[in-house]
Symmetry: C2
Subunit: 228 residues, 2 copies
DNA sequence: TGCCGCAATTGATCCAGATCAAGATTCGGA
DNA sequence: TCCGAATCTTGATCTGGATCAATTGCGGCA
């Protein structure tokens, strides 16, 4: 079983902070455990604090009229969520659910804000973390607004972290990836197929994708979609 | 002619910071003037620093394949742009153009980052400013992804700042508002008309809109769209 | 090993909003 | 005041992706 310390040490957001700040964070954190499928919080609830994922997977999503969902973010080990609401002190703007059994470290909101006020390096670290998050959001927006289905998928594949063998692993259900890209799973499936048939990618085993022709993928991202 | 001090004093982002920090910012700032239609910077250029608008209007937008544009943000007096890139130290992720003759204060990037490193209260202020910006972006994303044309316009009108007489002023060209909501100006025009015909809003003079039935508008935002 | 249930694929249609194409207004400048 | 250019409106058509509807595939479990 992971400890709070281990979880925090693996978190990107906190890698750049000095040992002393780290100690203080670790001291205030507590473990939070969630079953597969369990809701962590719902849109508009008070923000409990900053969550750091140690193990498992969480999806953060907005729900619209008629129950339609849009996945804002899929967080795996080392990632954080609810930082923004904790920082700004407002209600959480989206819902979070554990996609599989998940273990998190929770930095309670009040403690966290206090630490920020007293700890300048931590503050700086958070600033650069946040600015990355904004960049990511702008990228997402760009995706949804300026690219077609093939472009979004291509962009997603090129941006995704590659495993050692050069393949990218799709996180959990394809359905969630589709929603993240604002596509239905049907369209995702069809477009994915077209990319395979065109020889741009091929599937390895079990949710793994091999990128065969990165340059051609890149041109799709730019909006040059290949004829059928 | 506005001075740097006056511009900074009117800026929301810097209202919460102590006098001393303010002085230091003012000392490093310089004025930047732009003609109507002038480009301020283009996507992927180095970030010159943080711009604070004192007078005029700036639109920040992304350009996609085939020259399609999407307006991320329209900034008027008191607003800032390029903060995120300045903070994170990366290239600007979008282009900026002066929609009308515009006067800005520019806080050069290197100075600004230095100030952040040494000035804790400033840092805290920026953090909460940034968290608001993230919230705004998430709202935009929600808009584009979960709402139809009528819902987006209704939401925009309800969120927009009201003038003293309860009317909202559309910033400059309708075309830019449409692009901000990811609509063509044709669709914007048509949908706007439907809202007027349904008696939810009415037009005052010169780009001013009166909200007649806020509750009904709100229900449209939720996704209940009124029959023709 | 065979069944059950969820996910993924595939096919057929539908629709909101884009695009194309004219007019109608508005506004700045001489 | 009038003119020209740009914006805005309105109408007709087109289309990417959504929706509806079966199948197919796969992983866990008794």
């Amino acid at each position: 079983m992971l400890s709070v310390i281990e979880i925090l040490a693996d978190c990107r957001l906190f890698t750049a902070i000095p040992a002393k700040s780290f100690q203080r964070l670790a001291a205030m954190a507590r473990l939070a455990k969630f079953r597969k499928g369990q809701m962590i919080f719902r849109e508009n609830e008070d923000c409990p604090g900053v969550y750091v994922v140690g193990k498992g997977m969480v999806r953060v999503f907005k729900t619209g009229a008629g129950g339609k969902e849009h996945v804002l973010h899929i967080i795996e080990a080392g990632g954080t969520f609810a930082e923004v609401a904790a920082l700004g002190g407002f209600k959480v703007p989206a819902s979070a659910e554990a996609v599989e059994a998940t273990l998190c470290a929770l930095l309670p909101q009040a403690f966290f804000r206090k630490a920020l006020e007293e700890d300048h390096p931590l503050c700086l670290g958070m600033l650069s973390g946040l600015s990355l998050w904004v960049k990511h959001l702008v990228g997402l927006l760009e995706d949804v607004v300026l690219r077609d289905a093939a472009g979004r998928i291509a962009n997603y594949l090129l941006d995704a972290p590659r495993a050692a063998d050069g393949e990218v692993a799709l996180p959990s259900l394809k359905r969630y990836v589709a929603s993240h890209l604002n596509l239905t799973s049907e369209t995702f499936s069809r477009t994915f197929r077209r990319l395979i048939d065109a020889g741009l990618i091929s599937i390895g085993k079990k949710n793994h994708v091999r990128i065969v022709a990165p340059e051609r993928l890149r041109s799709i991202v730019q909006g040059i979609l290949p004829k059928e």
